[in-house]
Structures are given as C-alpha cells and as structure tokens.
C-alpha cells in the first residue's frame, strides 16, 4: 500500500498549511501599509482625559473608530493648524468612510486649553475632530505611552509662551491597536491609502 504512506504526510501538510492560513486570517493578515508600520510596536490606545464637550473619556470610548492621534495646542498659529487642515483634506478625500474615523487632538498646553476653547478650535477644521484636555500628568502619561514628548518653552515678557511638541500622527485601528505612524513629511496619498485599508477591511470588526 504505497500510496497511503505518501498520502498521510501530504494530508497532514495540507491541514497544517490551511490551519496556518486560517490562523493568519483570524488575527488579521498584515495590511500593505505605505506609512511606517507600528503594529505590535506601540501600546493600544488608552487614556483618561476630558473631551471638548467637558465629558470624561477613555481610549475605550473610541473603539469602533479608526483614530488619528495628534498632539498640539491652540495657541500654535502655524504647524498645528496646518496639520489639522491637512487631516481635514485627508478626511474629505475619504468621503463617507471618514465617518468611521476620528481625529483626536490632544492639548499639550493644559494651562491655557479648556474644553470650550478646544471645541471651537477643532470644529474650525473638521467635524470629525475631537479636542482632548487633561491635567499635566494625564497628558504626559499619554504622550510618554507613545514615546512622544512636549516641552513648555520659557515665557516672554508679556507672559506668552510656546510649547514644542512631537509632530507625528499616530493611527489606531477600530480595536484601538496602534497601526501606522505618519510624520508631517509623509505624503497625503499614503495616509489616505492606509486609512482606506483600516476603514475598508473587515480585519477589525
């Protein structure tokens, strides 16, 4: 019975291969991201902050949405508005899919940014943007979690000051898992492409 001897290992191999493939599908096949893939290298979205309507929120409140996390402050007249304006263009290009995404703009200036100021600010850019504020410790905890940083620069004579901050945009899937990192020099096409992957696929129900 030679054929049987040959059949058994072949079947076993096929089963194993099928099992591996199925397992791969279940855990989500690696998506062909164009931006820096940080899947598995950064912790899940988690924080305790206050949203721009004054409500206490955590990372879990945004499960089910693809999240674009960006740190900045409202007294930032140049780079923060530019980034938010560019993210607005990205959201426009996504069309109705953009409703499945949220821009979370976290203030690194707890002393000046209140929920009301943040509300007016983020809504001037995109209706799917949420402003988040918190005490210095909560914001620092979130910033450190993503190896991000911010520094309050010395005040000038009139008491005003600037805040230096990380310029990266962190993208999380619907399960709150960190997926890609966009630097300000990343192409907008690539960001649209990667957001399509996260919004289109059923990989993250």
């Amino acid at each position: 019975m030679k054929p049987r001897h040959w059949l058994r290992p072949a079947l076993l191999f096929l089963l194993l291969a099928a099992g591996l493939l199925l397992g791969g599908c279940h855990r989500g096949e690696p998506l062909p991201f164009r931006l820096t893939n940080i899947s598995g290298h950064m912790p899940d979205l988690d924080f305790k902050l206050t949203d721009d309507s004054g409500k206490a929120v955590t990372g879990a409140d945004y499960r089910g949405k693809v999240v674009l996390l960006y740190f900045g402050y409202t007294h930032c007249p140049d780079v923060c508005p530019l980034t938010l304006a560019q993210l607005h263009v990205v959201m426009q290009r996504l069309g109705p899919l953009a409703d499945g995404a949220r821009i979370l703009f976290v203030s690194v200036d707890p002393a000046r940014d209140t929920p009301a100021i943040m509300h007016a600010y983020v809504n001037a850019f995109d209706k799917r943007a949420v402003g988040l504020v918190g005490d210095a410790r909560s914001v620092e905890a979130l910033s450190k979690r993503y190896r991000s940083a911010f520094t309050r620069e010395p005040s000038s004579a009139d008491g005003t000051y600037e805040v230096s901050h990380s310029s990266a945009i962190y993208v999380f899937d619907r399960d709150g898992r960190a997926r890609v990192l966009a630097t300000p020099s990343a192409s907008q096409d690539d960001l649209v492409h990667d957001l399509h992957l996260l919004l289109d696929t059923g990989a993250t129900p």
């Binding site: 409202t74 007249p77 140049d78 780079v79 100021i117 600037e162 230096s164 901050h165 096409d189």
Partner: protein, 169 residues
C-alpha cells in the same frame, strides 16, 4: 520762509531718493493671507516677497492697526519635534524671493482689537531693514485653508509637507 539750506537739503534728499530706492520699492508682495483661528487665538500670516533689486532686502517684521502685536516667527522640525521661534529678519535675496508659508516663516498676529472673520481684508505694514515700509493687504481665510485661495498653487493633491519648503514653488 524758505531757507537756502532747506532747499539744498530737500534737493539733496530728492537726488538721493532717485539714486537709491528704498528696500520697500524693490519688494513685490503677493499671495498674502491670514489663517483665522477661533476667538482671540494668535493667527499666522503668510506672504510671498519678490525682490527686483540688486541688493538683498531684510524683512524685519510688520505692524498692524488690528493686532496689538506682530512677530516674525519660524517653525522648525528636528528630531520629530515641532518648534516655533522668533527671528530677527528674513532675507529676500537680490532678484529672488522669500516665502512666508505654513510650517516655515510666518508673521504671528496676536490680540486682535476686533474679531477678524474669513473674507476680511487686513492691512499689515511690512517693515524692512532700511526702515522703509510696505502696506500690504492680507485676505483672512478659514482655519482649514491651505493657501491664499488665489489659485497660486495646484492643490488637487497637496502633499503633507506642502509649504514646508520656503522655496517649494
């Protein structure tokens, strides 16, 4: 009461004026706009300056009757961090141009004495190295605008780093 000294002085000034135009005479400003933010938050102003002269011209800052304070600033990125700092001057090269554009040089406008709305025109008086000035009309644009909105650049597919390079266009 015409004194010969005064006449001489005046004609001398006129002659000097003819021979040496001021910095402002050589500068053409275009694509001037302000990104308006809600409330009394500081706003950024942008403009393209072209110098048709033989000498470089330094932009030192600007004044305004609408904003209490105007500062020449530069945004920069290093090591993944965004920073903003005050600068003394921006050089407009001879027969060249300098762009004040998002993520680069800009005029930071603080404390408006009246709300500025998108669509408004605000005059800023640009100040140059020799003390000469150039009154320039800036168009106020919405917070999420990316440029002056005058069709100066094609933004069908703007890159994320648009405006990051002062001489990109």
């Amino acid at each position: 009461m015409k004194s010969p000294t005064l006449s001489l002085l005046l004609s001398g000034l006129l002659l000097a004026g003819g021979a040496h135009a001021t910095d402002a005479d050589h500068i053409r400003a275009s694509h001037a706009w302000i990104r308006v933010l809600p409330g009394a938050l500081p706003a950024g102003a942008y403009v393209t300056l072209e110098n048709d002269g033989e000498q470089p011209v330094a932009l030192r800052g600007a004044g305004s009757t609408v904003y209490a304070e105007v500062m020449l600033h530069q945004s920069s990125r290093a090591g993944g961090m965004s920073r903003m700092s005050m600068v003394d001057a921006l050089n407009v090269p001879a027969h060249g141009k300098a762009e004040l554009a998002p993520a680069g040089y800009h005029l930071m406008l603080m404390q408006p004495n009246a709300p500025v709305k998108p669509g408004d025109t605000v005059t800023l008086t640009l100040q140059f190295g020799d003390g000469s000035t150039l009154a320039t009309d800036f168009i106020a644009r919405p917070a999420n605008a990316l440029d002056a909105g005058d069709g100066h650049a094609d933004h069908a597919m703007p890159a994320m780093d648009h405006g990051a390079m002062p001489h990109g266009h």
